[in-house]
Subunit: 193 residues, 2 copies
């Protein structure tokens, strides 16, 4: 049950642009770093997504990411597996299309334990946002980091890496595509090693 | 005479680590982002360097980068072409191995004019450091950006991109290698367009 951070970033290191709000969920310009999932999607991108879904067992995301997504996703959440939302404001689970979205207020390790149980031998995916990603990076609980690097400059917003100097990475794979370069790294000092 | 920023960065966006000094010219851990030029150099890396040198007409660098390099380089500066050092403290030109290193105190555009004249139809290379690179990015004077992206996390240091949101890039080429991924971008709103 590898724990994988899977996230799109701009070339200047942001996972969302400035001025994120419910009306602007990816921040100013932030939708451009997700073009590879939509208008600019290539066969290489589709293969990356198919591979992700094939091995997906559970998802962990932050409360802000959930709150921003809840409206747009409607009854069709993006991942068809159990989801765990890190929050300080618990609420009852949400059940949608066979997926249960549970709210965890006991911290990142408790959420990871729950997600690992739910995932069985499949992957636990850390979806973000930046704050949740940074917490798992800092705690060295990740086994892999998959960065979808868009050649866009946002100039500001939520930065993925802050004080991440302790992590040592092995580059596993680079896949070039139109709107992004997919970079797959194994964490050499991650939770499993 | 395209103007090219050519620079190695860590995955978290730093071109040098924390605590840069004459005794620690690349900052803590900073030498790891240049491994591709030394111990980890592959044939792909050598081809990138050969291509760079083939088309090189002149180099612009910052005074801090020059001062940090002057000792280690000794009588063998890294580029065999006219170099222009941006500085607020002018000094007489340095002549070494047929190369002239001139000191320019009239700003980035004046230095670029001089470098373009010296380069003829060859490339002007902006070598860095981060401060000089950021000035040319902000002024939109670049035609290309070549980033040698090391899969190293430094956790702090000199960041390449700050407030760089105005730049629009086209991805020209990705070359994978052992210690870095070479990313070549054309600036769509650069000096020549």
């Amino acid at each position: 049950m590898p724990v994988i951070l899977e996230i799109s970033t701009s070339l200047d290191g942001f996972v969302a642009g400035p001025n994120v709000s419910v009306d602007n969920p990816m921040g100013d310009g932030g939708e451009r770093i997700h073009d590879w999932l939509f208008g600019a999607k290539t066969m290489a991108d589709s293969a990356i997504i198919a591979d992700l879904l094939d091995h997906l067992g559970a998802v962990i995301l932050g409360r802000r990411t959930f709150d921003l997504g809840e409206g747009p996703w409607g009854d069709d959440p993006p991942f068809p597996v159990p989801c765990f939302v890190l929050t300080r404001r618990p609420r009852p689970p949400v059940v949608k299309k066979g997926t249960t979205i549970a709210f965890v207020d006991r911290g990142i390790e408790a959420a990871l334990d729950l997600a690992k149980q739910a995932a069985g031998d499949k992957n636990v995916l850390i979806m973000g946002g930046a704050n949740v990603a940074r917490q798992y990076i800092k705690a060295q609980l990740l086994d892999e980091i998959h960065i979808h690097l868009a050649h866009q400059l946002l100039g500001g917003g939520d930065r993925l890496f802050e004080d991440a100097g302790a992590l040592r990475l092995h580059k596993v794979r680079v896949v070039e595509s139109t709107a992004v370069t997919h970079l797959k790294f194994r964490v050499l000092n991650g939770s499993s090693e």
